[in-house]
Amino acid sequence: MIQALRKLLDKFLNSLFKKKKHIKLGLYGPPNAGKTTLANKICTDWLGEEMGNVSDVAHETREIQIKEQISIKAKGKELSFNLVDTPGIATKIDFEEFIKAGMKKKEAKIRAKEATKGVIDAIKWLDDMDVVIVVLDSTEDPFSQVNITIIGNLQARDIPVLIVANKIDLKKSDMKRIESAFPQYKIASISAKFGNNIDNFYEALLDMVN
């Protein structure tokens, strides 16, 4: 209750002064969608340093990562925020998948346990977020339980959402499929790895928050 009142007050003050905002911006999505790659791109562009490790093996990020005080500017607008990169949200975590990716059994089981804890932590942090970027892999089917549950819950909590359709550099990327899955949302299509359309993403983010 107190938290809700504080949020309301913050929103009121922000709208009153209309100056540089300082918000918590969360990166959410399924594993291997490119959340950390996007976090690294944002940090490299505006801070000159990376945020975390990326890997082809799912669940590389298993703990919440925070980078404070990032300021981005575009078209005369400015936004200052703390960037929160979260572990990938999944419904099944199986150590055998990590073994297939070349890990040893013991290491794979530890990764599975940490990834499970990561999912719980990511969900617990959701209430602290002011804005969320949902990062989706545009080569994958967007109609998944994970995507629908994340986006539905953000809507229920009244947290503004920007959907990022990542990996547009890949042949299998299908933007139309994502647009038809979430027609009521603003969608920025990018390649976080190669920086394609990244300026459009920053503009969409500033438009949404300002």
Binding site: I64, K92, K113, I120, D121, Q145, N153
Partner: protein
């Protein structure tokens, strides 16, 4: 609602003293099972070897985290939110997790506590 000891598969009803103190076999981890899922749960746990039960017990205690040294109070994992089918194989029910339903129940001082704030402290709070 039944509680099942992960180590020896014994079932206990709500309020049983074993849930508060630990199972007769020495086990400190129980699965909390809704009645309609009882048969499913029985099949699941009966396929586990002793070694696997112990591994699951250790993994879930690690997952719960934040247990102080020497704290051996039993922990009850709600299977509705997280299922551990075999060591290293987890199924998560996102709808329950997003709803903020408790994942674990802890016992202590002869009481049964639903205490996720304590058991799942967030990284940011640790620094405070």
């Amino acid at each position: 609602m039944p509680h099942q000891c992960v180590r020896c598969n014994a079932f206990y009803e709500d309020g049983a003293s074993e849930i508060l103190k630990g199972c007769k076999c020495g086990g400190k981890l129980f699965f909390y099972i809704r009645k309609e899922k009882l048969e499913e749960a029985k099949n699941m746990t009966s396929n586990l070897s002793e070694e696997e039960s112990k591994e699951i017990e250790k993994d879930v205690m690690d997952l719960v985290g934040e247990r102080k040294e020497g704290d051996d109070t039993p922990v009850v994992l709600d299977l509705e939110s997280i299922r551990v089918l075999k060591p290293g194989k987890y199924e998560l029910d996102l709808v329950h997790l997003f709803k903020g339903d408790p994942v674990v129940f802890k016992t202590g001082d002869g009481k049964y506590m639903i205490d996720i704030v304590e058991t799942f402290k967030r990284a940011g709070e640790k620094e405070k």
